[in-house]
């Protein structure tokens, strides 16, 4: 069984937010809910200033603390390492939101928000509520576009290689800063990049072993 993971090359990322938009579009995420974020800023002082860009998403840890603390089993880890939430089981206790060291979970509690306040829902939002109905009072987060991966695998496609089976943020990434693939396959590009370019994880000290690696500048 594969263990899906992602490598993000900081040197390649240009901070265009295409991944953020693609993710919102793919999952019809309501206002205020982001599964994918891009952090852009500057460090240093003039004239030695450098631009810092960090795309951030759920790390789909190998040893996820969110799965351990969930009292209902709503948050669970699939055999392929992807951590997902069953909205029908989530009770909204927010223990997972508190426990995630990466603060990548959102408590969705305001289903009245509109993209254009006071003007009603757009056709996009109406469709989203039908296709990806988030439940008020539950927690939500990135799924690595699990529905694309599953559908792609059924068709014999390879996630990370075939666009149809690859997460939307990876497809949308213009400079190809994101690479998706099987972390347990040494010949896969993600494994190769992590090994050759010394990919690093966020906060390794928590022992969660994230599946998202960053290649430093």
């Amino acid at each position: 069984m594969a263990r899906w993971g992602m490598v993000i090359d900081e040197k390649r990322c240009i901070g265009c937010w295409a991944c953020t938009i693609a993710c919102k579009q793919e999952h019809f995420l309501p206002p205020g809910v982001f599964w994918n974020r891009v952090l852009i800023g500057e460090s240093g002082k003039y004239p030695l200033v450098s631009k810092e860009i960090y795309p951030i998403l759920c790390n789909h840890c190998r040893d996820p603390i969110c799965v351990k603390v969930c009292p209902t089993g709503a948050t669970y880890q699939r055999d392929d390492g992807i951590v997902v939430i069953d909205y029908d089981k989530c009770i909204g206790c927010r223990y997972c939101v508190i426990a995630c060291p990466y603060q990548q979970r959102t408590f969705y509690n305001d289903d009245k928000k509109e993209y254009f306040p006071g003007q009603g829902l757009t056709p996009f939002e109406v469709l989203g509520k039908k296709l990806y109905p988030l439940q008020k009072g539950t927690v939500t987060k990135c799924t690595f576009c699990v529905e694309r991966i599953d559908a792609g695998l059924k068709k014999g496609l390879k996630p990370g290689v075939d666009r149809e089976a690859t997460p939307a943020c990876v497809n949308a990434c213009v400079p190809k800063a994101r690479v998706f693939g099987d972390l347990d396959d040494p010949s896969n590009e993600v494994s190769r990049l992590i090994k050759e370019k010394k990919g690093k994880q966020f906060h390794g000290e928590f022992g969660t072993d994230p599946a998202v690696y960053y290649l430093a500048k």
């Binding site: 351990k68 603390v69 009292p71 709503a74 089981k89 009770i91 927010r94």
Partner: protein, 299 residues
Amino acid sequence: MMVNLRPYEWMVKYTPQREWIEGCGIFLWLAFILGGIGGGLYLTSLYFNNYTGLILGWIIAVILKGGIHLAELGKPLRAWRVLCNPRNSWITRGLILVIGFGIFGALQIAPAVFPSLPWTSDALVLKVLAALFAFLMILYPGFVMGYIKAIPLWNNALLPVLYLVYGLLDGCGLCLLLVLAAGVDQTALLKIVGSFTVLLISMIVIVSIYFTTTGYANNAGKESLQIILKGHLGPLFYIGVLVLGIVFPLGIFAFTYLTGSVSVVLLTMGVICQLVGSLSIRFCLLKAGLYMPLIPGRR
């Protein structure tokens, strides 16, 4: 080098947890406190043989705490699902403890309300089981919070002990108020005053060790401590926790215990002040919980 950013400060600065103290998260603070007060009142009432305290403690811990927990949930109608993960989740274990206390506590108290029942309130098995569940119920919020490595202020082995001592102290104080209201003899009263004073001194020791060990934790732990001692939580800590919660009640109770002269007004004020201290410290702990910044941690 610290990255200077505006939109996502939570990624580059120490960021406070908000879910369990702001908005409906405030109910969790209240529920944890009521669990401590209810369990503590039950245990101390069992020790001092006060039936009113037993009943009140059970109502506070089971009915009030349970109701407030439901109000805090995003989907309260699914609350039964909390029982699904006892192997890993401290919330599940907590609910099991509350249910256990609810059952054995009710069985132990029932004969006092319904004398026709075939067993008595003095049944040792029921007393031991109810006391055990009450004891663990006071402890578990400390484990719920202490399990979270991401917030160093909470990730401290002493947190359950701190919750235990505060729970017993709150319960002992309320038990004293009940005894005062019932007008029991002075010897029994002084016995409770003595226990309260000992608990208060234990609490001072544990709070001191807790904050000292947090000071040796990582930078987020130190930053949390700064917020409590020197930051915006400073007034609450010094006035609520130290003066009202420790100095004032300690003075009153030590004086009462040593001189043997009982002043109902002073003792009542002492208990109320200690309760304010108990509310304050738990608020400070929840409010000052900080995450490590996401970005500089790996640099």
